[in-house]
Structure formats: C-alpha cells, structure tokens
Amino acid sequence: MTPLTFTLVAFAVSLFAGLLGSLLGIGGGIVIIPALTLLCGIDIRYAIGSSIVAVVATSSGAAAAYLRERMTNLRVAMVLELATVSGALTGAFLAGKIANRWLYIVFGVMMAYTSLMMLKRRGEEAVTTAAGTPWAEYLRLGDRYYDAILGREVAYQVVRTRVGLGLMYLAGIVSGLLGIGSGALKVPAMDLVMRLPLKVSTATSNFMIGVTATASAAIYFHRGDIDPFVAAPVAAGVLLGSAAGTRLLHRIRSSTLRGIFVLLLLAVAVQMVARGVRG
C-alpha cells in the first residue's frame, strides 16, 4: 500500500461509516477500526484515535441539519448526557478491576436480545404514546418532528425517564470500560424504553455521542494517539458521509431504519461475544 491508496481506501470506508453513523446514531467505529487495522495495517492505537475523531465528525456533520429540522431532542439529550458522562467516568475507574471477558459476553448477549426486541416492533411507522410520565412532564421532554415519509408532524411524549437514565448510565460504563457500542446501546434505550420515535432517537444519540467523544478525543490528542495522516482521510470521509446521511434520514421509512439497526445490533453482538470467548 502507498500513502495515496491508503488515503483513498480510508476515505471511501469513512464515507460509508459516516452515512451509517448519521442514520443510525452511532459513531462508526465498528466499520472504521477493522478497516484501518485489518485492511491497512494501521496500529490499533492510531485506529482508535481516528475512530474517536470520526465520532465527533459524524455528530458534527449531521448536527446543523438535524438541529434545523428539530430532529434532535436537545432536552432529552442533555438530561441523558448527565447519566452517560457519569457512567463513562465510573467505567474509567472500574477499568482493570473487572474481567472484561465476561463483560463482553454479557453485553453481547444483551445486545442480541435487544435486537430481537427491536425486530418485534418492525412495521411500526411512528407510534407514539399519548401521555408522558410525571418526570418527563416536569422536564417537558415531549416534542414534535416533521416526518417527510408520513407527510405530517409527529408529536410525541416521553415515558420511563428514570429507567432511561439508568440505562444511559450503564451504556456510559460499558463504553468507558470496553470503548465500544455506546450509540448502539443509546438508541434502543430511547426507542424501546422511553418510546421516542426511532428517527428522533438516532438523531439525539448522534448528538450525544459527539459530546462524549469530545472529552475522550481531548485525552487521546494529549496522549499523541491522533495521527493526522490516518485521521485526515477518515475525518474528511465521515464529514461528507454524515452530511449525506441526514438527507437520507428523511427519505427512509422508520421500519426500514429499524431493520438496518437490527442488523447492526446483531453485528455488534457477534463481535462482542467473539471477543469475550477469545478472551
């Protein structure tokens, strides 16, 4: 491989990762890290450094569009972000004290179960609950968004805020400990538990992962893990891909999006269990 071919390969892979990331509310590390390490022979340290830049790029590339269209629920994002960042801090403290091997297996199985739960609700376009629970009402978490497929505004309420907070704390711990899958845990928590519409869940997760990643990225940069030669084509590709993804979110049916998300969850689940079994 030459610097030119690497740049082109990394750019193309990142374009796809950005598209997937902004649609599904994930960072894209599941695509970028294996591509960089296995395909291009990049050191895992720099691959992780670049993938954390990619998370910020996915989030920022989609931010302007989702914000203008009121797809992101900023109130939900801020409340849940409190729990996620606390969880990530807890995870950082627990690192090395818990056998990661079992964590990978436990969460892999949990993700597989979640994907089944999400599959059960396939065919739902934008089903929303009529009334929020007291906490959600007090924090005024309900909102509305315009669904281009349905051709109308969808108003929604939020339920089970405290369970959602608990799950976000757990998601934060897992991503702090294992460094993966925080978006893949956040979206089902918002969709299945708090009953936010799927499109709002992915857009809100997209916002949240960017915020959390900024803190990690600062640490990675300080450690010298962000190599511009590796990170540049990744960031450029992801920025363009995620901007394209925001356009696609309008045209895609929620049920199709759900289908893609189920496949993603299964892929993450298999990857986690495999890592746990290999030890």
Binding site: T2, V53, V79, V211, T214, S216, I219, D227
Partner: protein
C-alpha cells in the same frame, strides 16, 4: 390563541437555534477545508512520495513525527506544514460539540429555563472533569 409574550419568546428561541445551526455549519466547513487542505499541502510537498510503499511504512512506523501539542500545531501552521494544518482542522472539529453544548445552554437561558441551564452546566462540568482526570492518569 397563543399569548403574544409566549410567541415572541418562541420566535427568539427559533432565531437562536438557527444561529447555532449556521455557526456549526461554518465550523464544519472550515474544519473540512483545513483537513483536506493539509492533506493537499503534504502531498504537494513531496509529490513523488504519495506512490511510495516505503514512505507508507515510514509514516506508520512507531514514533512517526506529527504535531502532538497545540503549540506544535500553531508553529507548523505558520509555515503551512501539511500535518499541522490538518491537525488544526481536527482540533477545530473537536471543539464543535463542546461549543454546541455551550450554545444549547444559552438557548435554555433565553427560555429562562433554570433547570435545564443547570443540567447543561452539569454536563459541561462532568466533561471538564473527565478531561482533567484523563490528563492525570
């Protein structure tokens, strides 16, 4: 009918939200230009190397030189050093989500929503704490 006062507040919030979206858009475009511009500068510096396998291995070898501190980036920027220009773009990109949280806090302040101003402040505080702890460890 929506009371006039409430409608004015609603419009003010919408204006601030649009401003935040525009600001982010400019930030992302600037970061993209810096990142790709830096790549181009690196390539133009020694064009024959972009086809070199040996150069690829050298770039990936442990201890390959690239800017690792803000002052190194600033120093390289003055000389239009490719990796420094790219890293400046990456650093700009990395500030955007924090900026977004800060501006969201401003929106809540405009709405006079004390609870959410506090929540946003809490998020920023936790983020700062995790950066600080990361540097110690």
């Amino acid at each position: 009918m929506i009371p006039e006062k409430e409608r004015d507040a609603g419009e003010r919030v919408l204006r601030v939200e649009r401003l935040v979206a525009t600001l982010l858009r400019f930030g992302v475009i600037a970061a993209f230009l810096f990142i790709t511009g830096g790549m181009l500068l690196s390539a133009l510096h020694q064009p024959q190397l972009i086809f070199s396998r040996a150069e690829y291995l050298r770039l990936l070898s442990p201890g390959a030189a690239f800017p690792r501190t803000v002052s190194e980036v600033a120093g390289g920027l003055v000389h239009l050093h490719g990796p420094a220009v790219t890293t400046a773009g990456i650093l700009l990109l990395l500030t955007l989500p924090a900026l977004r949280v800060l501006l969201t806090g401003v929106i809540f302040a405009v709405q006079k929503d004390r609870i959410f101003v506090l929540i946003t402040f809490g998020v920023l505080l936790l983020l700062a704490l995790s950066v600080a702890l990361g540097k110690i460890a």
